[in-house]
Symmetry: C2
Subunit: 209 residues, 2 copies
DNA sequence: GTCTATAAGGAGATAGAC
DNA sequence: GTCTATCTCCTTATAGAC
């Protein structure tokens, strides 16, 4: 045994600081990006000394990694919570519309989420593992939930449910990227309803045949 | 008249340097991102002194702006060249497949283009005007070309051609983002053909009714 | 216009007291 | 574990010679 003198209370204090550092770093990284965020400012935001930041996380890259993994867990909750309170057995057309509309409303108004996606994509060349954490823990679960729904509804007569999910998710996500993150809403105006209706019509088209 | 002593040859030399600076800066910005790119390295890459860089572009932000606008013009050519050599009047199903496949093949293998999109999205919070230049000069023209095709083919019986274009473009672009830029191809494997076939089937489905 | 040299400040990271 | 103080290096930007 090592002479660990830290009591529970002391460890709690230390963990509280670690948490404060993560939150402060999160704020700074999301605001300025990885390179432009400074460890000085992060320490100030977290109300600890810079040395404490380094004793907890070693270096800037490790801190960034910890922050992103925290964010990934956080946003995973968001994605999962998105589909839950659905009236379970309605017409697919209505269910799909609701899912699409809710997803757009939630993400288009969530600046924090947009900053998160910005940093994931922006740093995906230099931090490929973090990009893959996003794919594995956010994109994949989202895709799989919708995929299960499609497979559970054979009346949709989808030739390739998995590829169809990609159509739906890609349409919605790139729409948010263009309209909000890239500030394109005045250049390429289009209402949520028109996009979602078109999407659900394409997918449920067989019903009309 | 001011006593402009610059002859044509001298101006050419100066413009050649400006071009070299742009190209060097492009390389560095695409590789390291805006904040992590250094003016020292940019000057070295362009084989001029740092003072020359500043005399041409004023400061780092202006240089970045010039670089991105150059890239936007460049990539506009790519987007326009993408649709050109199409056998004009084939079945829509085949034309759409060809457009989709070609787009995926071109962009999935073009690391330079991916770095460009990375920096546009990554810096879109801090440089909204540059993001809008991308939307205006690349996304919009691409969308409009496809839109014209859809509108010129009423036999597709599309309720909302403009929204349908967004479905197609969003599906393809987000696919490239997920598979290549975010390194998701081993986590969420899917072949180009399956995505494009699903997409074209959804859009041209009426033909089967 | 272009260079060398340098200013002025901020960056990441650590030493050493407590 | 946490702090203050500091080290060292690199950053953007400019002054002044040619």
């Amino acid at each position: 045994m090592t002479n660990t003198k830290t009591t529970n209370k002391e460890r709690s204090k230390s963990e509280a600081k670690a948490e404060a550092i993560i939150k402060g770093a999160m704020q700074e990284f999301l605001k300025h990006g990885y390179a432009a965020a400074s460890m000085d400012k992060i320490a100030k935001t977290a109300k600890v000394s810079k040395a404490t930041v380094y004793s907890h996380f070693g270096d800037k890259e490790s801190l960034f990694s910890a922050v992103v993994q925290d964010l990934v867990k956080d946003k995973f909750q968001t994605v999962m919570g998105l589909q839950k309170p659905q009236s379970l057995e309605q017409e697919p057309k209505i269910v799909l519309s609701q899912i699409g509309m809710r997803m757009l409303e939630n993400t288009r108004s969530d600046r924090n989420f947009q900053d998160f996606v910005r940093i994931i994509i922006g740093e995906s060349g230099r931090f490929p593992q973090l990009a893959q954490a996003y794919v594995r823990n956010i994109a994949k679960p989202g895709i799989e939930i919708l995929s299960q729904y499609f497979k559970a509804h054979p009346e949709l007569k989808l030739d390739d449910p998995e590829a169809t999910v990609r159509v739906m998710v890609g349409t919605l996500v790139y729409f948010v990227i263009l309209q909000e993150m890239l500030h394109g809403q005045d250049i390429l105006p289009l209402e949520n309803e028109r996009l979602v209706n078109t999407l659900t019509d394409l997918i449920t088209q067989h019903q009309n045949c």
